[in-house]
């Protein structure tokens, strides 16, 4: 009963002849609607911040894995470089052996040592190519190792940015949570200040709209339908409402004074 009275009291404020009172209830409805929107957006912001933090954590894990892999490849490259250096050294030694074979060929004389000299020359040319190729491979690997080092540092940089994003996302989440709390508090204060709540405000706004529509409809019928006929048709529905409004107004008076 008290709830019903409160509704009628508020509704009467909305439908009374005073434009100020009507505006006030409309403003209240708009205020509650804004409050609801703000609350919804704060919740969305909190969820988005949470999702951003989660995505950043995933990104960080991916970057960590990438960095580990790049470091492993870098380590393997260094090992590969050492192996290539050993290969180049082996070719150089082969070159020296070929030179000594040529020297032995030279000692054996032009005829006797010709075959040895030819083999020596052939082995030397291959050994030279081997040294050159091994050095080239070594240079390429060194270059790749340098690029890997750059990549690793870029990964580290990206991880740093990721940490910044995580921090900002946490701050955003905290701000969104704080906004939600502030909006809840605002809602409570609004409820206390206006004596209404979002649902009631919405219901009053709708009832006010319907009442206005009824008044407009009755205005349109005015003069066209006999008044007595109209009154007999509307009385069963409107009489309890009017009685209720009058009763409520009577109850409302001392409250106004207090």
């Amino acid at each position: 009963m008290a709830e019903k009275n409160r509704f009628f009291r508020l509704w009467r404020r909305g439908t009374s002849g005073s434009k100020g009172a009507a505006r006030s209830i409309t403003e209240e409805g708009a205020l509650w609607a804004s409050h609801a929107r703000a609350s919804e957006e704060a919740t969305k912001a909190a969820e988005a911040a949470e999702r951003a933090a989660s995505s950043t954590a995933k990104q960080r894990a991916t970057l960590d894995a990438g960095t580990d892999e790049a470091r492993a490849v870098s380590t393997r490259s260094e090992e590969l470089q050492r192996q290539v250096a050993r290969l180049a050294d082996a070719f150089e030694r082969l070159n020296v052996i070929a030179l000594n074979a040529g020297l032995e060929g030279a000692r054996l004389g032009e005829v006797g040592g010709k075959a040895l000299s030819l083999v020596s020359s052939e082995v030397r040319s291959h050994a030279d190519r081997g040294v050159e190729t091994a050095r080239e491979v070594g240079r390429t690997i060194a270059e790749s190792t340098r690029e890997l080092a750059t990549l690793t540092s870029r990964f580290d940089e990206a991880r740093g940015h990721g940490a910044d994003i995580t921090q900002h996302a946490s701050l955003a989440a905290a701000s969104a949570a704080e906004s939600s709390r502030a909006l809840a508090d605002l809602g409570e204060r609004l409820r206390t200040a206006t004596g209404s709540d979002p649902e009631t405000a919405q219901a009053i706004a709708q009832a006010t709209e319907h009442a206005r529509a009824l008044v407009v409809a009755l205005g349109a019928l005015s003069g066209r339908v006999p008044r007595a006929l109209l009154a007999s048709a509307l009385r069963p529905m409107l009489e309890p409402l009017v009685r209720s409004l009058i009763e409520d107004e009577g109850e409302d008076e001392p409250t106004k004074e207090s």
Partner: protein, 133 residues
């Protein structure tokens, strides 16, 4: 038709010039082993090393580039290691008929490396070491 005379030996690059060492003077070509410095030794004597099981004094050639290859020679029965020559080739080379001890390598002349002068420099360094020591 006269046949070109051939000479067996080693062609090295010393500075910008090509030089020739006859096969009779060269014992072996080796990847340079570690050299032990000799206290008081002066240039061009770098120190001593072991090559082919014997102790070899190592001499640095002027304008040296390649320090990885050691050319071990024997002059007057004494071993001598030359460091800094870039060994270009070994084998038989056409002798230059116009000059004694000169060979042709890839169209260029390679004069005979003056091992006697190098040996004399080494001997002077050795004597200086003994006198000062």
């Amino acid at each position: 038709m006269t046949e070109t005379q051939k000479r067996g030996g080693v062609v090295v690059k010393h500075g910008d010039a090509l030089e020739f060492l006859p096969a009779s003077l060269v014992v072996r070509i080796a990847t340079c082993p570690p050299i032990s410095r000799v206290p008081g030794a002066r240039k061009p004597l770098l120190g001593i090393t072991v090559a082919g099981g014997e102790i070899v004094p190592v001499v640095s050639m002027d304008g040296a580039r390649d320090t990885a290859t050691l050319v071990v020679c024997r002059y007057m029965g004494e071993p001598l290691g030359l460091l800094g020559c870039e060994v270009l080739a070994t084998g038989h080379f056409d002798a230059d008929p116009s000059a004694e001890g000169v060979v042709l390598f890839e169209g260029k002349t390679a004069r005979a490396l003056d091992l006697a002068a190098t040996f004399a420099t080494l001997q002077r360094a050795r004597w200086a070491l003994e006198w000062e020591g």
